[in-house]
């Protein structure tokens, strides 16, 4: 006969503790002025009175602390209770603020607090650093070069060598191996070279083999680019 372990637990123990993560609204304060806070909160409550009534609330003091603005915790808690919120914790305050909170019956949450930024503050644009790789020695048969940005090669690329770049490829000598530009799919990338005798050229996966290259273009500066999904090879 199978034993129901759930029943067993319930009958043998009166209670048990379990860790649970819960979702709680956090009140992040950017100003220590109680009058302003009261006014803003009343505006919010007016928008949805049922939603805010008796709702648990975590008070985050990190911004005030990092900007060394002090706030009367006792009065704040009283204010929140008057507005029918149920403050269930504070976090990110100073030691003395935390002691006052505990005295007022509000526990302290010491979990690490993410750095608080004001919501209207402008985020700095992330500038992506583009790596340009410079090769001064010949790229020999069997060697492979990969550049995340542009690739500049001052010496020849031998037959059986492979040069690849997410950006453009510039070769100031003979290209006899393979050159693949825009390998991450950027169709605006180009290949420039001083003598095109390549085994293969490719822009963003559109390639041409040596067989279909125009021999009259060897020994002169050429560029390779994409136009309407066609690979164009022309003298410069």
């Amino acid at each position: 006969m199978p034993i129901d372990t759930q029943d067993l637990l319930v009958t043998e123990s009166v209670l048990e503790f379990k860790s649970r993560a819960i979702n709680v609204s956090t009140l992040i304060l950017f100003s220590p002025q109680l009058d302003d806070i009261q006014e803003k909160l009343q505006q919010k409550i007016a928008q949805a009175p049922d939603f805010f009534r008796n709702s648990p609330l975590l008070i985050n003091l990190a911004y005030l602390l990092t900007h060394s603005q002090s706030i009367d915790i006792t009065k704040l808690i009283l204010l929140l209770r008057e507005l029918e919120f149920l403050p269930i914790g504070v976090q990110g305050g100073s030691k003395s603020q935390h002691q006052i909170a505990i005295a007022a019956g509000v526990p302290v949450h010491t979990m690490p607090v993410k750095k608080i930024t004001q919501p209207d503050s402008v985020q700095k644009p992330v500038i992506k650093k583009i790596e340009v790789k410079l090769i001064t020695q010949p790229v020999r048969s069997g060697q492979r070069i990969y550049a995340q940005g542009d690739l500049i090669i001052l010496a020849q690329v031998s037959a059986g060598a492979e040069v690849m770049a997410e950006g453009n490829i510039h070769i100031y000598a003979s290209l006899r191996g393979r050159a693949l530009a825009g390998v991450q799919g950027d169709i605006s990338r180009r290949i420039f070279c001083a003598d095109l005798q390549a085994e293969l050229v490719s822009i963003a996966g559109n390639y041409r083999l040596n067989d279909s290259l125009d021999n009259s273009l060897s020994k002169q500066n050429v560029q390779v680019f994409l136009q309407d999904q066609a690979l164009i090879i022309e003298a410069l």
Partner: protein
């Protein structure tokens, strides 16, 4: 300060061992104390070309394994007392070579010798890698045909990226092109790549052109480095190469077709 020269090519049968033997002899005849090491473990040939195959007692691998001292294994050439040969083992394979062992032997040789030539096996595997790893200069032996040129190019890539000099960021290995088995008349017919073609494809300084010559095979079979054959074009070409390597200005020969039937007949011996 001793210089380590690797004679390499990638492809087999292009004349690495012939070149190693000839240049080692050439440098020794110039008065430099020279050692030539056969790295082709398991396919020992240098001793035959040098004509000392009956005098091999200990070999390179014995020295690496500590079974013999370097002095016991080195064979002194009978024609030139500045030249010593370190033969490969015929009964082992390339796995018997270790980087530490090779370094130990080369370090010891560097104390006594001015030039150390490493005769590389064909291929780009273990033996070839160890032969070139500690080199200061590389003689890239190439035949004027596309397969040999491509293999040389591959080898040049390895020299530039996998040698000790490359790995420790020192000045790169100095590379020189030696074009062997060259036949100007066949180039003229279009049946062979020209010197300029090969130079352009490999973009390397040309140290010398060794003409195709019957005397190379004859010298090999007789166990005499071809450089000792006074009447041979190939021997003369190797002499020029040694002079150029040592810094002399010597004009290139054997590149153009000889004019006149008779002079051609007499000189191509």
């Amino acid at each position: 300060m001793a210089r380590i020269i690797v004679v390499t090519s990638g492809k087999g049968g292009v004349g690495k061992t012939t070149t190693s033997a000839a240049i080692a002899m050439g440098l020794a005849l110039k008065g430099f104390k020279t050692a030539v090491i056969d790295f082709d473990v398991g396919l020992r040939n240098l001793d035959l070309i040098m004509g000392c195959e009956r005098r091999v007692v200990y070999d390179f691998i014995n020295v690496i394994n500590g079974e013999a001292t370097l002095n016991q294994a080195l064979i002194k050439d009978k024609r030139c007392d500045k030249l010593y040969i370190l033969p490969a083992s015929q009964t082992r394979d390339k796995d018997a070579l270790t980087k530490d062992g090779v370094e130990k032997v080369l370090t010891e040789l560097k104390r006594d010798f001015e030039y150390i030539l490493c005769d590389s096996p064909a291929g780009i595997e273990r033996g070839a890698n160890f032969a070139m790893y500690f080199a200061d200069d590389a003689f890239v032996v190439t035949n004027p045909e596309v397969a040999s040129v491509r293999d040389s190019d591959r080898m040049l890539g390895i020299l530039a990226s996998k040698s000790q000099r490359a790995e420790t960021g020192q000045e790169p290995i100095k590379e020189f092109l030696l074009l062997s088995r060259y036949s100007p008349s066949r180039v003229k017919d279009g049946g062979m790549l020209s010197v300029d073609d090969v130079k352009e494809i490999l973009s390397l300084p040309l140290l010398g052109v060794i003409p195709e010559s019957k005397s190379v095979l004859e010298a090999s079979n007789a166990g005499v480095p071809v450089i000792l054959d006074e009447k041979s074009n190939a021997g003369a070409a190797y002499k020029d190469i040694v002079d150029r390597y040592l810094g002399e200005e010597v004009p290139h020969r054997f590149i153009k077709v000889k004019r006149g039937l008779f002079s051609g007949l007499f000189r191509s011996k």
